[in-house]
Structure formats: structure tokens, C-alpha cells
């Protein structure tokens, strides 16, 4: 029973409470009515996805600095969980865009940045699988994760600039008081769940990496050759 099991279980329960409150107890959102309740799943996913990518960036810097496999496993785990969350985010975003703006894909800066982030991080995972050499894989994954993370704010602002020149109708974020509680509960729940997933994924990856360079799998030292006419 590791820490990440507990974190995941607490996360799921908090998430249930948050979603339960958000769906059935909280009042409908002022502007958008019931459909605004997607807020309680969309916003926490967005926050937690960003936190997870922040973790991957920190782990990548640590991985480059210390060069140890534990950091490498954390980078891999957090990038993978980040990709899952971002995929959900893009799906939720388009489901939310449909009723509010009548289109499946609104060039909303956040949504576009999320889509780009997802593609970048999926590319990192694909590239990581193509490398067998452990030290090289560690460095290249870390380098790609750092560059990808640095790119996120630039993409966001450039898309925001680019889009706001067209038509400007960003989604209303008015969050009234009774909605705060379910939102916060869901956010903390999602965060704990994400941390649990990262912890578990990290352990699996770490076992695989250690198993790969496992001293036990070393061949037996061969016996020295005795050369005729030699003192040895």
C-alpha cells in the first residue's frame, strides 16, 4: 500500500464529492444554465494538467542536473499523465464549445494551446520509445520536455494575440460563491488522483529502467587464459 495508492483513493473520493455537489446541488451557472456544470470537470482538469506539466518540467531539469533514473522515470510518468489529462481537456473543451458557441472547435487560446501541448508531449513519448540507449534516452526526453514546457506560455500568448484580432468572445468565467466549494473539491481531488497516477506510473517505469541495466543480468566473468611459456 504505497503513498500513491492512498493519494489516488482520496483523489477519487474528493472528485466524487466535488462532481456530486457540482452536478446536483450547486445552482445552475448564471449565464449558461445547466450546461455550465461542465465547469466542475473542465476547470479542475485544466489546472491539474498545468500542474502535472510543471512537475514534468521540474523533473526534467532535475533529470538533466542529476542524471539519475528516478528523475527520468518521474519525467516519463508525469508527461504521460499530462497527455491523458490534456486529451480529456481538449475533449471537454470542444463539448463545452458546442452548446455555448455552436461550434465543435472554437479558436479559444486555451483550447488551442492545450491541443498543441498534447501533440508536443505525445511526440516526446513516441520519441522516447525509439531510443534504446538509457543515458541518451534520459537526456533527450529531458531536453524535449524542457523545450516543450518553455513553449507553452509563448504559444498561449501568440494564439491569444492572433485570435483576439478576429472576434473576441472569450467564455464567461463568472464563478459565483456557492460554486466555489465543488470546484475546489473537484480540483484537489483531481490533483491527488493525478499525483497517485504519476506515482504508480513512475514506479513501473523505474522498475523497467532498473531491470534494463540490472547488474544481475551481467554475464559470468570468464576465466583468464593461461598462455604457454608465460610466468602468470
Amino acid at each position: 500500500m504505497k503513498w500513491f495508492h492512498i493519494s489516488a483513493v482520496m483523489g477519487v473520493s474528493l472528485l466524487c464529492i466535488g462532481h456530486g455537489l457540482g452536478l446536483f446541488v450547486a445552482p445552475p451557472e448564471a449565464m449558461m444554465g445547466d450546461v455550465g456544470r461542465i465547469l466542475y470537470v473542465h476547470v479542475p482538469t485544466a489546472w491539474v494538467a498545468l500542474v502535472v506539466y510543471l512537475i514534468s518540467f521540474g523533473a526534467a531539469v532535475g533529470s538533466l542536473w542529476f542524471g539519475r533514473l528516478t528523475w527520468d522515470a518521474t519525467v516519463r510518468a508525469s508527461v504521460e499523465v499530462g497527455v491523458v489529462l490534456t486529451a480529456l481537456l481538449v475533449f471537454q473543451g470542444s463539448v463545452w464549445a458546442r452548446p455555448t458557441w455552436g461550434v465543435w472547435w472554437a479558436w479559444d487560446p486555451r483550447l488551442t494551446t492545450t491541443a498543441i501541448m498534447m501533440i508536443t508531449y505525445v511526440a516526446i513519448l513516441i520519441m522516447r520509445n525509439a531510443i534504446q540507449d538509457s543515458p541518451r534516452r534520459l537526456v533527450i526526453t529531458a531536453v524535449a520536455t524542457i523545450v516543450a514546457f518553455v513553449d507553452v506560455p509563448i504559444v498561449y500568448f501568440s494564439v491569444k494575440w492572433w485570435k483576439s484580432l478576429h472576434q473576441d468572445h472569450s467564455s464567461p468565467d463568472t464563478v459565483s460563491d456557492p460554486m466555489i466549494l465543488p470546484l475546489r473539491l473537484a480540483a484537489i481531488g483531481m490533483l491527488l488522483l493525478a499525483l497517485g497516477l504519476i506515482g504508480a506510473r513512475r514506479k513501473t517505469e523505474l522498475d523497467r529502467l532498473n531491470q534494463e541495466v540490472d547488474p544481475a543480468s551481467l554475464p559470468e566473468p570468464i576465466e583468464a587464459l593461461s598462455v604457454p611459456g608465460e610466468s602468470e
Partner: protein, 226 residues
């Protein structure tokens, strides 16, 4: 005086296989070490690891008393490597290639001509893409001679050379300053110009001893197998 190369328990894994394992080797200043062994016995991989171009998976390696993981750049600038590949640009001619690398090491046009003279490639103007394997080998050696590395690593220096080339290269290697680690299949020619020999077999050191016993060690390792 700390040894130039110090390897303890060095291992390197490639996918599911260990390219080399349990390598304990110490090479002092000015030594001439000859690595002999069948194909695939890990000679090339070990040489590339000593050249810091291929990081070992396990074990400690220290070069010039420094750890390659932290002082990689300073170490690399003291190392010269002759690998299977030419290490030069196919589109450029011999003189161009050497001028390009000469500019980095601060050696002028005169050195380039002199070095090309030594390896007998002075009259070629065409891009090296069209050179024969032997000429490429001479050119890579010429490139190595341009800078005087403290540790020279030679992977099959005599490969695909004509007999006259082998003699010339043998002489050049014996005149090389600093430490030399060489992997070769021409055991007799190579043993003549080295003072210590290491026999490698399936990635591990099977025998280590003076170069004079190199040939008999090679023979008994073959007989042992047969």
C-alpha cells in the same frame, strides 16, 4: 602520476545484450595498448566509451583523472579517435576537410600540406566521397595527425590498407606522442609497435600481458575454442 585511463567494473548494455562487461583496465602515460579479439568482442564499443562518445551503463571510468560525466568537454579536447567512419565530409576534398578541422585546432595550411604528404594524399582534389577505403583510412589518420591528442584511440588503423600503407601507418603510429590504445586484427604488425596487449572475448577481458606474447595468446585462445 595518475593513470591516463582508469576503468573499474565497466559495463555497457545494448538492448538485451552486454556489449562489454567487467572491464578493469589502467593505462599509464605513454603506454601503447593493443586490443585484440574476434569481431563483436566489444573492442569498438569499449574504444568509443573511452573516447567519451558512448556512456558506459555501469562502472567507473576516469580519464586524465577526471570523470567524463562532469568534465566531458575538457576530456574530449585531449582525445583523438580514428573510427570505422572517416569522420570527415564526403562533399569536400581532402585538403578542404583538413583545412576545416585545422582551423578549429589552429593548425595552418602548411601543416595540412605536410600531413597530407605523410599519408601520400597530396595530389587528390576530388571530394572524398569517391575515395577508396584505404585512402579514406589514410585521410582519417592525417586528420588525427593534425592535432596532437594526449590520448589517441585507433580502431583498426591497418584495415583495408595495402602492404606499403601498413608499413607507413605503423611507422606513423610508433612516432605518435602520448598514449595510444589500438584495436586491430593484424596482431603481429600491431604487437610490434605496442608494449601491452589485451585479449577480449565476448565483451570481457580474457588475457592481459606483454605485447611479445600477443601472438601466442591469440593462438591459444583460438585453440581453446577449437
Amino acid at each position: 602520476m595518475s593513470p591516463i585511463v582508469q576503468a573499474r567494473g565497466l559495463c555497457r548494455r545494448f538492448g538485451q545484450r552486454w556489449a562489454y562487461a567487467h572491464i578493469d583496465l589502467e593505462v599509464a602515460e605513454g603506454e601503447r595498448v593493443l586490443l585484440i579479439g574476434a569481431n563483436g568482442s566489444g573492442k569498438t564499443t569499449l574504444l568509443r566509451s573511452i573516447a567519451t562518445l558512448l556512456q558506459p551503463s555501469l562502472g567507473q571510468l576516469s580519464l586524465f583523472g577526471m570523470d567524463p560525466k562532469t568534465h566531458c568537454i575538457d576530456i574530449r579536447q585531449k582525445i583523438g579517435l580514428l573510427s570505422h567512419m572517416t569522420g570527415l565530409y564526403e562533399d569536400l576534398s581532402a585538403a578542404d576537410n583538413l583545412t576545416v578541422f585545422g582551423r578549429l585546432t589552429g593548425s595552418g595550411r602548411v601543416d595540412v600540406r605536410e600531413v597530407l604528404e605523410r599519408v601520400g594524399l597530396i595530389d587528390r582534389r576530388d571530394p572524398i566521397g569517391g575515395y577508396s577505403a584505404g585512402m579514406r583510412r589514410r585521410l582519417s589518420l592525417a586528420h588525427l595527425l593534425l592535432r596532437t591528442p594526449q590520448l589517441t584511440l585507433l580502431d583498426e588503423p591497418f584495415a583495408s590498407l595495402d602492404p606499403e600503407g601498413v608499413a607507413a601507418v605503423g611507422k606513423i603510429i610508433s612516432q605518435m606522442p602520448g598514449t595510444v590504445i589500438m584495436a586491430s586484427h593484424q596482431v603481429q604488425q600491431a604487437a610490434a609497435i605496442s608494449n601491452r596487449t589485451v585479449l577480449m572475448e565476448s565483451g570481457q577481458i580474457r588475457w592481459m600481458g606483454p605485447a611479445t606474447n600477443a601472438w601466442s595468446a591469440w593462438r591459444s585462445s583460438q585453440v581453446g575454442e577449437g
